[in-house]
């Protein structure tokens, strides 16, 4: 009997947890007019991980992103300049960030643009990374899901443009 309850509770918890995630936000907005959308699946990440050269960096310093790529399970990007969609997207992202265990990693405001970085995970592993950038004319939502090493992610993001 107890086992039955535990199974039912787990199933319902799973359903609730999936009710609003990056994938559902992507599915909701990706087909709308005026939205640029990019999705990279886990199988594509596996193929990317097998590419011979997987270092990036614009300023001479090459950064190895293999440790990150190999742990990613999904990449979602949405970009739009439609004010109506921006309002709805912002609302849905707020809902996603409010329901989960996301923490604000960093907020930057400059020249009318607000960029927020959020992570969901623990001290060592990031299960979901979300970036929401908004200015007067456009909004960009980027989400990466997986089991990402926090140190490697932070090091990579800090070094890419240095």
């Amino acid at each position: 009997m107890k086992r039955l309850f535990i199974i039912a509770a787990l199933l319902l918890t799973g359903i609730m947890a999936h009710a609003q995630d990056s994938k559902s936000i992507y599915n909701k907005f990706s087909d709308e007019n005026g939205v640029s959308a990019v999705y990279i699946s886990p199988s594509m990440f596996k193929m990317i991980g097998k590419l011979p050269e997987i270092e990036i960096g614009d300023y001479g310093q090459k950064v190895d992103i293999t440790p990150i790529v190999n742990t990613l399970k999904g990449f979602y990007l949405l970009n739009t300049s439609d004010q109506g969609i921006i309002r709805r997207l912002n609302s849905d992202v707020k809902s996603l960030l409010g329901k989960g265990s996301y923490e604000l990693m960093m907020e930057a405001k400059q020249d009318g643009e607000t960029v927020r970085f959020y992570t969901d995970g623990d001290d060592s592993i990031v299960r979901s990374f979300v970036m929401m950038a908004m200015d007067a004319g456009s909004a960009t939502f980027i989400s990466m899901d997986g089991l990402i090493n926090r140190d490697a992610l932070e090091r990579m993001l800090a070094n890419l443009n240095r």
Binding site: F5, I40, A108, L157
Partner: protein, 130 residues
């Protein structure tokens, strides 16, 4: 009369089917009571599910159906890869990571400049006090 312990099954059955032999009234009642008791005992809680158990079973079944339904729905509505070529996907990923990195760098710069301004202000106040 032959002892009933020594009778064969056929003999016992023949006696049982003999309508002329009357069962004593008390024995009949005792047998009925015994049979009713056995029937009552046979109705164990497991055979007669508790109402709470039944509700829990229904709830668990509904959750299972919902989970299966959600799984099927999720499978059907999974996003389609934007790129079929891993090189293109990689180029996109690189551009996105660089974009995020530049935004993060701006954030770090603004934090540094804000912290610097606060430190300068604090130093000025300390100098005036001294």
């Amino acid at each position: 009369m032959k002892e009933k312990e020594n009778m064969s099954m056929t003999e016992l059955e023949a006696i049982a089917l003999d309508g002329s032999i009357r069962v004593p009234e008390k024995l009949r009642d005792d047998i009925r009571t015994e049979l009713d008791t056995l029937a009552f005992l046979a109705e164990t809680p497991a055979a007669r599910p508790h109402r709470f158990t039944r509700i829990a079973s229904i709830a668990a079944s509904l959750a299972l159906v919902a989970a299966i339904g959600f799984g099927v729905d999720s499978y059907r509505h999974r996003p389609k890869d934007t790129f079929s070529d891993p090189q293109q996907a990689y180029a996109m990923l690189e551009a996105s990571l660089s974009y995020m990195s530049s935004k993060m760098e701006k954030g770090m710069d603004s934090i540094t400049s804000e912290t610097g301004a606060v430190l300068t202000k604090t130093t000025e106040i300390m100098d005036k006090l001294n």
